[in-house]
Amino acid sequence: MEFNYSEEQLALQDTLQRFISRDYDFDKRRAFSASPYGFSPEAWSQYAELGLLALPFPEDFGGLSGTAVDTMLVMEQFGKGLLLEPYLSTVVTCGGLIRDAGSDSLKKRLLPEIGAGKLKLALAGYEAAGRYDLAYVTCTAQESGGSWRLSGRKTVVLDGASADYFLVSARSAGKVYERDGISLFLVPKDAKGLTVGAYPTQSGARAADLGLENVAVGTDALIGAPGRALPIIERAVDRAIAALCAEAIGIINALNEATLNYLKTRKQFGVAIGSFQALKHKMADMLIAAEQAQSMAIIAAVHADSEDAADRRRAISAAKAYIGQAGRLVGQHAVQMHGGMGVVDELIVSHYFKRLTMIDLTFGDADYHLASFSDTLRPTA
């Protein structure tokens, strides 16, 4: 394994850091979050100019053929800057899914548009009563005379408020929880019969619930073979998890930096509070957690693109579980050590904490992934 970033990667990292300090400070971010779509369209076009939106796509489709490690590096900066733009949904999750499972014509149609910042996508894979199980699909898909008709509901579609297209999982055969019989469709936001109920999230972005009533799409809207979409979706979500892990690392490191700085500057009883051994040792625990979490994020990135589903499950679930736990420890300690300042809206610390908490709750929390990692340890498994 190579643990050092390449020249290009360091340059990219540097560019993003400068972008954040120049165009995305905490106050600007607050304004972006308050705006209708909960992010900055200007920033989005800047990402396009920087090539970020085409990073993971093949050259033939105007991409830069970036690796999962490149994505990791970008997402770390998204964490550090608490960037609100729908990069995870559009580029990593949906873009990556289309790259891996889309037809050539679809790739030609969408990837360059995504790369140019003209198109935003969101994955509608979860339903209310299914918790974190992507196989819980009650939304129906019926084929009739050259078109599909979708009916049902999807919940907490991340970045759903601004998406131009949704990737909707629907059941074309089988019963709920069956792995077979799930199909995936590309549905435009203005499709007849589609309702988008948008709302803000705890971390300041936007999500939406979808209602589909007999929504008609052409057969070309089908991605992958009918009834065979679950592995495709799982792979996309695993990649999204690896990216989320990287975002969490960006936040964890930022929180440690902020807390360490606070310990050195905040004075009580006439001395910097960082001179108290109990706080020193807590800070040491936070550093250890950050180092270990970083290692797990690397494992996730290295296995994110693996074709071997079992090997991927083991790495991704272990990383998501571990980073969920580490994020909890770092987030709670950071707030605690900031005292009163840790629980007010004024400082970025509480916003880091909230985002970290929501990352844990996205795509399955630490307990969910600990269980799925644990289940891979069964001799019978």
């Binding site: 979860y126 209310a128 918790r131 919940t155 109920g197 705890q202 979808l210 007010v344 809206d345």
Partner: protein
């Protein structure tokens, strides 16, 4: 005791207004009017001050009765009474205040006419309270108060504020502090809301710009304020194991875990999640007994609560945080939405979201964020451990 418990429970069943009960059940916002209304109801029953001696119009209940009342209150989803008026200011005023102060202020607290807030912390003085700098300079029969208090809870609703102010810079920090009562309507007072991390307005900065305060509003002697403040702190700490509130939250958690589905079964049927609940429930079972042991010990030795309340504070705050965290995790994806309007009773809601976003869901994540304060305020966990190691362990 059981007879007393039954009486209390019957009262709550009969007298607690349904609209207020519902708000608390669902974690919706309470208005000032709600709180005053409830205080007046209690006052009519003669229960305006559960922790006061009869002589001042209190119930004269012993510490165990107070504990039972508090437990039933939480279980009934009745609002807590203003702790700054009843548990902090009043004991100080009853012990160190003069007759005039007692006769004027205490009845107004009982009747709900006056609500108080606390002016202790300052930007530079959190755990290190004695370093406070807000000044009160004597001018004729007034003090002129200048400075800033922060971390002031519910000041936006309060009629009066009791403040620690610096009346002298001589000698040790502790020796120059006085305890002053200030009318919130006084000219020169500005209240600036501080928004908490859950987006709610609960605390404030309070700025004093040449605020005139009559000298008769001084409690006890000038520069003796630190003594009164320490006296107050032990009273503040009493009963903050919060066993009643924790039991309520545990009940709620189990309801949620029974409603939410996982793998086609109620979440609580998932042994992994249920084990998490069990772990906290064990802590709470233990805390309930520990709390009673502390209370009965103090009762037997008829003394004020000592440093052992630090144990209760640490455990109580940890448990309420863990319960809040589990409630949030029980929601799964439904923990992500942040719908402010949903915190008002009249929210009709986003129909799509509303279809699965249960009535209990809206406040849950915010409560987890907000509850982080419980290990910070009223003596952070670190401070409590210092107290334990110094005053109990002698380290």
């Amino acid at each position: 005791e059981e007879k007393f418990r039954a009486e209390v429970r019957a009262f709550f069943d009969a007298e607690l207004p349904t609209d207020i009960r519902t708000k608390l059940q669902l974690g919706r916002r309470l208005s000032k009017e709600d709180m005053v209304r409830w205080q007046k109801i209690l006052f009519r029953k003669g229960w305006g001050a559960p922790n006061w001696p009869k002589s001042f119009g209190g119930t004269g209940w012993n510490i165990v009765q107070q504990h039972i009342f508090e437990e039933e209150r939480a279980d009934a989803c009745a609002p807590g009474q203003n702790p700054f008026s009843l548990k902090m200011l009043a004991p100080v005023m009853q012990t160190f205040g003069n007759a005039a102060q007692q006769e004027y202020f205490l009845p107004r607290i009982l009747s709900g006419e006056d609500g108080w807030c606390q002016g202790y912390s300052e930007p530079g003085s959190g755990s290190d309270l004695a370093s406070l700098r807000t000044s009160a300079v004597r001018q004729g029969d007034h003090y002129i108060v200048n400075g800033q208090k922060t971390w002031n809870t519910m000041g936006q609703y309060a009629d009066w504020i009791f403040c620690l102010v610096r009346t002298s810079t001589e000698g040790r920090q502790q020796q120059g502090i006085s305890f002053l009562l200030i009318d919130m309507k006084s000219p020169g007072i500005t209240v600036r809301p501080i928004i908490m991390l859950d987006g709610e307005h609960e605390i404030n900065d309070i700025f004093f710009d040449n605020v005139k305060v009559p000298v008769q509003n001084l409690i006890g002697e000038e520069n003796k304020g630190w003594t009164y403040a320490k006296f107050l702190l032990t009273h503040e700490r009493s009963g903050n194991a919060g066993v009643g509130i924790c039991k309520r939250a545990l009940k709620k958690l189990k309801e949620i875990a029974t409603e939410q589905m996982s793998n086609g079964r109620p979440l609580i049927e998932d042994s992994r999640f249920r084990d998490r609940i069990a772990q906290v429930e064990m802590e709470l079972m233990a805390l309930e007994i520990t709390n009673l042991r502390v209370l009965s010990a103090t009762a037997n030795e008829s003394r004020a609560l000592g440093p052992e309340v630090s144990v209760l504070k640490i455990k109580g705050s940890e448990i309420i945080q863990q319960l809040a965290e589990l409630k949030m995790h029980a929601l799964g994806h439904d923990a992500l939405p942040y719908v402010r309007e949903a915190l008002d009773m009249d929210w009709v809601g986003n129909p799509l979201l509303g279809a699965h976003y249960r009535s209990y869901a809206p406040p849950i994540s915010g409560q987890y964020f907000n509850q982080r304060k419980t290990t910070i305020y009223a003596g952070s966990t670190e401070i409590q451990k210092n107290i334990i190691s110094q005053m109990i362990l002698g380290l």
